[in-house]
Symmetry: C3
Subunit: 385 residues, 3 copies
């Protein structure tokens, strides 16, 4: 009798070495990843609506870099390092607010900058020799608004459109730009940021770690990420058994405690998208978006240290859903928060085992082909000029 043929996932049939174990806790490697990855890619900040009004601002820390976002008078969003060019003071003290004047005034020595970052005047009565205001523009940071989401890139980022694993218009049917934030969750996980993404990128752990989710999404219960990952998929193409077909268990339409949708479903979704029940769109290293039939989930992560990561989850809804008295937010939040807590636990366990001296690196199995893609992306980013 012939041995089982080896698994084949997206072309991967062999075991592959994981990343060096100390990349997950070494402070020097962490600093390197901040500088090569986090400071050189588009990082998700939050929804445009939080900085909608002219002169509104927001600040965010990416590692030890503090970004100041300001909506200028013409409605354009600007981003700068939150640092005065004079002696380096932070310009805005609060995480968010509204500028009192049409200028950014340093609270230390009152240097005045336009909302476009030009130095308009110093506090000195006349200009000293060798001082040209044009040399003292605020340090510019790239900013993109897309579908109501704000992203910044400190330096040298690739084109924004290439920052996702799907075409930028993939979720257009959801009308992302019109959705509003109905709920926000924040959670700190004691693990390296890469541990989070590895967990995100495979479902080998799903049957053991996510019993409820594995019931809701049968293919996850089979430790697979997608329909096409099932070697028997082709055999069952005509079969109606959801076990072999992706999508949710019979009777469920969305990710919630009871599988039922909140008050309203998005009207323009394709039949395929409704059946899939979750379309993931990933923007490394800081975020992913999931389109469900009745809500959109947005997860942002930010590294707080070599072994600490902050997660923030935003739940987006159509405005009419939030206004609907029948709308049951807990049905959604309790379910997705359960899944996130289960993942957080195993992410922290993963972190805890990595320092064993003989453990030079782990191993990536064929089913974890997206983890391998993640590792390849990380290694390429660390090499990128």
């Amino acid at each position: 009798m012939a041995a089982n043929p080896p698994l084949e996932f997206n072309g991967l049939t062999e075991r592959v070495d994981g990343l060096p174990a100390d990349w997950y806790f070494d402070p020097a490697q962490y600093r390197c990843e901040l500088e090569k990855i986090w400071f050189r890619n588009w990082i998700y900040v939050g929804r445009s609506s939080a900085v909608a009004a002219p002169r509104s601002y927001q600040s965010i820390a990416i590692g030890d870099q503090h970004v100041l976002l300001v909506r200028d008078e013409t409605g354009i969003l600007r981003a700068f390092h939150n640092t005065c060019r004079h002696r380096g003071a932070a310009l805005c003290r609060e995480p968010a607010g509204q500028l009192r004047s049409g200028a950014i005034v340093c609270p230390y020595h009152a240097w005045v900058y336009s909302l476009q970052g030009e130095l308009l005047r110093t506090s000195s009565k006349t200009q000293p020799h060798g001082f040209d205001k044009h040399d003292f523009h605020l340090y510019r940071i790239g900013v993109v608004e897309w579908s109501g989401f704000v992203f910044v890139a400190l330096t040298g980022a690739p084109p924004f459109a290439r920052s996702f694993d799907l075409p930028l218009d993939r979720l257009d049917s959801w009308g992302l730009g019109n959705l509003v934030v109905g709920h926000v969750l924040t959670k700190t996980i004691e693990c390296n940021w890469k541990i989070f993404w590895e967990n995100y990128n495979e479902c080998l752990h799903c049957p053991g770690v996510h019993p409820q989710l594995s019931q809701l999404v049968p293919i996850f219960g089979r430790a697979l990420l997608e329909e096409r990952d099932d070697p028997k998929w082709r055999e069952h193409l005509g079969d109606d058994d959801p076990k072999y077909k992706g999508g949710l268990r019979a009777g469920a339409v969305t990710w919630s405690l009871d599988g039922q949708a909140s008050a309203a479903q998005f009207p323009g979704l394709s039949e395929a998208d409704r059946k899939a029940a979750h379309i993931y769109m990933t923007g490394l290293p800081s975020m992913f978006i999931v389109g469900h039939v009745d809500y959109v989930r947005v997860v942002r992560l930010l590294p707080l240290g070599a072994e600490r990561t902050e997660l923030r989850v935003e739940y987006l809804f159509a405005p009419e859903t939030l206004a609907d008295a029948r709308f049951d937010l807990a049905n959604i939040v309790d379910f997705t928060n359960l899944v996130m807590s289960e993942d957080a636990q195993v992410c922290e366990l993963n972190q805890q085992g990595l320092r064993a001296l003989p453990h030079v690196r782990g191993v990536v199995m064929p089913e974890e082909y997206v983890v391998k893609q993640l590792h390849d992306w990380i290694k390429a980013e660390l090499q990128r000029a």
Copy 2:
């Protein structure tokens, strides 16, 4: 008039340089000592009775290395790094417990290991190319059970029998294997682990630091560790004055508040051992055992950082002592805890003075000849291949 002859202790008549002062606080030196000393010697974990049942387990951290101890089905104790070979997750979350099945199952992706550490199966349906389960045995750690004590050695340890300063059978009269833990104390001291051992290895500090102990043990009150350290010992060989003879003050038989023994004394002790009243047996770097006439004291230390050390004291008794209604535990614990607190205070003071820039190193006096032996052992360990 001739000068006093110089002191002579165990052949030591000259002052000797201490270790470099920064060895007591420099993080790089601390890391080096972890790797060369703590990871390459037999480290005391605890009593066998805590992992007596088949499938019971315990975990312990030695520096940043997490050890998993498991009693297998045949009664043999096994030790592994608490790290799954797949992606490095910690295998057991709790400090101690009972495995539900006769296997170690990783809580992340459910890789299954036998209690001997063999990888039995992964969560992948078939094995990928180039994957041989035999390459993924759990990382083995040496383990020894001796007289009811469990020791582990991460790598390259000397033979266990050479890990003590006395022959392994020296305390056999106490029947160590049959004793039970009647009390446990834990204490964190803000000092380097070597400071603790230096304090342990001399009694120059006893008269000033331990007034009660110095009364109980007259030779300690004379700043000496042992009878033979007294240059006048030979002169007083026939003398009955306990001041010159070791042992305890008249009327006392053990280390306790009133010098009286708890309910029962060990029956098989020699007259010499009863008179000595404390037989110390030391297993560097992690523990010592003291045999008293009515109880055994076991002290374990573990380094928590360059300037922090954890002490755990176990008090062992004959089972019938613990069952005896007259048994007065406080009489013992209050006394030994007083001595330990006095030592902890001066150990912390010692640590506090070491950073003075001109203080390149201290000096070891002849009476501190065991401190010199300790330093020699440390230097030899740091050189050992």
Copy 3:
């Protein structure tokens, strides 16, 4: 029409580069500044009156160096590293106290030192070969008492008289040696010590940061430090308008909430000093003294880390002022504490902005000529052999 002539401050007409931004947070640079600046200059400890009695002692930490100050039997103040020469234990445990005997006795092994630091005896019965007590003098530290102030210098400090920006007798009219401490404030600021001194050394920030102080001291309200900094000063030499003349607003005589003096003014001040209303005398890196007409303010700073500094403010008064029932301490303390809190806030803001990657260094404007002098002094100290 000709352009405005450039500002000229004390010869400075050009903008000057600031110090490298990472000098304000890099731990290695911080260590270097401790060793080259803080351990090699006269550091203010406190008032002599705190160690007035023979055998009284005090300890202070300068970075990680612990200094022990002791008044000997002859009234001379001595300073040593708080470290025993035997095995390095700290000699005195408390921040201040009174020695019980006329000797310093190590609490660990009872080595005994004279109050002049000589090793008088060890705890060993006789001296070992190669042991000469003279080799084990306590580690000496330089100490100076001047006008009731105590300063120490660990090593290699310049002559004390050159440690101030003014002649040592400049504040003699205040009778500093006879003043007593009426109040003490302590505050921890989250900034590098150099940020504090930069803030101290310019008044460009005064109009925006200190509204009350700017009202009290008109020239501060014009963003100037001193009369002579005003280019129009010469034009107004005959003018009585205080705006152009330094000193305080009309009707005020001192720094207090209402501008009025506490019960008594110092009798011997010159008319010029009364008019100036504040004479600053600065002893880098650790202190400054301000003479007001009715009190003296002394500010000590000590670095607690690369990004943390401790301030301690002492308010000195004539003894008869403190005894006067009409004396209103709050009038002084509430005002100066307000100014100090305003400065602390902007110092912390300054620190927060410095890590922006493109911010290699800031810029020093001509009005900040004393900041440039500070930077020059720091750079020279770091080069000093």
